[in-house]
């Protein structure tokens, strides 16, 4: 039998004999606003969902650490694991080992290249890139120069966003020149690149930053010092779209400093990751199709399921929507 969970406490179908058991969770990193919000939602939601959560481990963006953390969680008795492997290839062996021990795994944010997972909870990163491309393309009416702060090439999310953005630009807006700046997710690199680029091409009129948490402040600061932080009505205005959905981005949208962001649902990540892990322990199974929470479960090949959560585009119109996670944290 299969079901779509209608709520976290959906009734068990596969018999709840195996229900219960500790859930181990590994946090990928603690030095970005997005992940910090996620890290904060997890224990809160675990309480609400009635999940028996072990003390979370932290792999500090290092897959080797993630592997050892997982092993430690298992030896401490974890019956299900939630993780967010930032390096999607290097986790394959671990997933196989966990599968061998019948420990279901829910991955958040990234889809492992290989290996068995119970569910992948993520937003579609390619969609981020496409949304950003479409937004800028429309605002600039298909003409102009755009600077793109790429993430690290060795991160899937960065690569997905970059590729989708580039493909969409090429296909739909050939009149827009894109300067793709490699930043390794570093604010200083982005700031330096933008400064250089603005000197070289003073007529730049669009910016796509792949991570607002890292690039927002440096970009605004630089534009301010160049007197380029002007309202959209001004012809000098540079259109900026960001990814993440942190409160500071919302504030910047309200202030007219940036124009849009794609809200990456930190709260939903936490909520559904825990729900699926719990469901796995309760013996439930799922099938592709629409869910009751505005998302779709898709089969990404080999029977691996992925719940693609909605990642709304936030602009001045909907920036005050209280449902956005960025409006729920301090």
């Amino acid at each position: 039998g299969s079901s779509t969970p209608s709520s976290p406490s959906a009734s068990a179908q596969g018999g709840s004999a195996a229900a219960g058991g500790k859930i181990g969770i590994d946090f990928p990193r603690t030095d970005s606003d997005f992940w910090n919000s996620y890290n904060k939602y997890v224990p809160k939601l675990a309480g609400e969902l009635g999940v028996d959560l072990m003390p979370p481990t932290n792999s500090q963006n290092d897959v080797a650490k993630l592997v050892s953390n997982t092993q430690a969680l298992v030896s401490q008795g974890a019956k299900a694991i939630v993780m967010a492997p930032q390096d999607t290839g290097a986790i394959a062996t671990t997933l196989d080992q966990l599968a061998g021990k019948n420990i279901p795994v829910v991955t958040v944010d990234t889809r492992p290249d290989k290996g068995k997972t119970f569910m992948v909870v993520r937003a579609d990163n390619r969609a981020y890139g496409e949304k950003a491309c479409e937004f800028l393309g429309e605002q600039l009416k298909g003409k102009g120069k755009v600077v793109e702060f790429q993430g690290s090439l060795s991160s899937v999310n960065g690569r997905d966003r970059s590729e989708a953005f580039a493909e969409c630009m090429k296909a739909n807006y050939p009149g827009i020149t894109v300067f793709a700046e490699p930043t390794e997710w570093e604010g200083t690199k982005a700031s330096a690149a933008l400064q250089t680029r603005l000197t070289q091409h003073p007529d730049i009129n669009g910016i796509y930053m792949q991570a607002g948490g890292v690039f927002l402040a440096p970009t605004l600061q630089l534009l301010k010092s160049k007197n380029l932080l002007v309202p959209p009505t001004d012809p000098k205005h540079i259109f900026i779209i960001s990814n993440d959905g942190i409160p500071q981005e919302f504030q910047a949208i309200r202030d007219g400093q940036i124009d849009a962001t794609v809200s990456q649902p930190a709260d939903l990540y936490a909520k559904w990751a825990l729900s699926y892990a719990k469901a796995a322990l309760e013996g439930k199974t799922f099938a592709p199709g629409k869910t009751d929470h505005d998302s779709t479960i898709v089969d990404v090949g080999g029977g691996r399921l992925e719940d693609q959560l909605p990642a709304p585009l936030v602009t001045k119109e909907n920036v005050d929507d209280p449902n956005l996670w960025g409006n729920q944290v301090g």
Partner: protein, 347 residues
């Protein structure tokens, strides 16, 4: 085999243009200057290449950008160069770059903006930031000099601890709500140039004069060259070293301050991974890891080389896929060029 040559100790610790003679006899003086200027051909080459690739390269605006983007790095390199000349090591500078302004900011901003809730007067922000730098340096000095621990591991441990503290008390959040004083320094322009460039130039000028023309500065070279001999000559080696560590921390905090102002926030990862670049610039600039050798002017040239390479690669729009390989390749070539023009073995 090359074993026959006598590896003569390279860089003189001499003050620029004065007694810093290497080599032998009357041509020694000239050689010494060359060594200091070893990177100048590399810099010239880069400038020519830059101008060919992109006319905008030579615009005053762009060159100012290059300078401004390197200010924080160059302050760290200044700090590290002095510490290396004194024969020690400091890896923890890169964490101080993040921790000092983070604490300085967190203590003065309201808890609602991720502050610590102490709400101290905003005017204290900068002094606290600098003080923290000095304290970190003093603590490093304590462990290294009193407890006789290895500078490398002490500061490696501190690197981790300080970064950890920053993540700990900010909960890993970036601090966005900066007091105006922080923003001012990172953004103001004085007489047409960014304030940070002036500050950095001043710091180097003071450093060059102090290391070149003052007794305590010279004793840094003496200590790095042979600490026992320096002690025998009456240099209070521990005191000088301690001071050097504290100045290093101070400069790192200042760099953090400027970076915070320029980027408009304190990232939890501010400074992360910079120490490699700091060492690269210092060593490329002729500062020896063995101590006692190198000049601040050389170190500054090292910073410039790296800054120019970065700028040119950005202007040239090199593909993200190959940028790192090319960057590394150019550094290696610049090194070999410096080696060939200076004619000295490096160390």
């Amino acid at each position: 085999m090359t074993e026959t040559t006598v590896t003569s100790p390279g860089t003189p610790g001499g003050p620029p243009g004065t007694a810093g003679g290497t080599g032998r006899g009357p041509s020694g003086l000239r050689l010494a200057r060359f060594r200091d200027l070893a990177l100048v051909p590399a810099i010239l080459l880069l400038v020519v290449v830059g101008a060919l690739i992109e006319p905008a390269f030579l615009s005053g605006d762009n060159l100012t950008n290059v300078l401004q983007q390197q200010t924080e790095l160059s302050l760290l390199v200044l700090a590290e160069a002095v510490i290396l000349i004194a024969g020690k090591f400091d890896l923890s500078l890169e964490s101080t770059v993040g921790l000092a302004p983070a604490l300085g900011v967190a203590l003065v901003i309201p808890a609602a903006s991720n502050g610590l809730g102490t709400d101290w007067p905003a005017a204290l922000g900068i002094p606290i930031c600098l003080l923290i730098g000095v304290l970190v340096g003093a603590f490093n000095g304590l462990l290294i000099l009193r407890f006789k621990l290895s500078a490398f591991i002490v500061t490696l441990g501190m690197l981790i601890v300080l970064r950890g503290l920053q993540i700990g008390f900010t909960g890993g959040q970036n601090l966005f709500a900066l007091p105006d004083s922080f923003l001012y320094l990172g953004n103001a322009r004085w007489v047409g140039l960014p304030a940070s460039v002036w500050i950095c130039g001043l710091a180097y000028a003071i450093g060059i004069v102090a290391l070149g023309y003052f007794r305590h500065g010279r004793s840094v070279y003496a200590i790095g060259g042979n600490v026992d001999a320096a002690r025998a000559a009456g240099v209070r080696t521990d005191r000088v070293l301690w001071t050097v560590f504290m100045i290093g921390g101070l400069l790192a905090a200042l760099a953090g301050l400027l970076m915070t102002g320029r980027l408009g926030s304190v990232a939890a990862s501010q400074g992360n991974g910079m120490i490699f670049t700091v060492f690269a610039a210092a060593v490329i600039g002729g500062v020896s890891l063995d101590g006692g050798k190198g000049t601040l002017f050389g170190a500054l040239c090292g910073v410039l080389v790296l800054g120019l390479i970065n700028n040119i690669l950005t202007l040239a729009g090199v593909s993200a896929q190959w940028i790192q390989a090319i960057y590394g390749g150019i550094i290696l070539i610049a090194l070999m060029l410096a080696r060939v023009t200076s004619g000295k073995a490096q160390d």
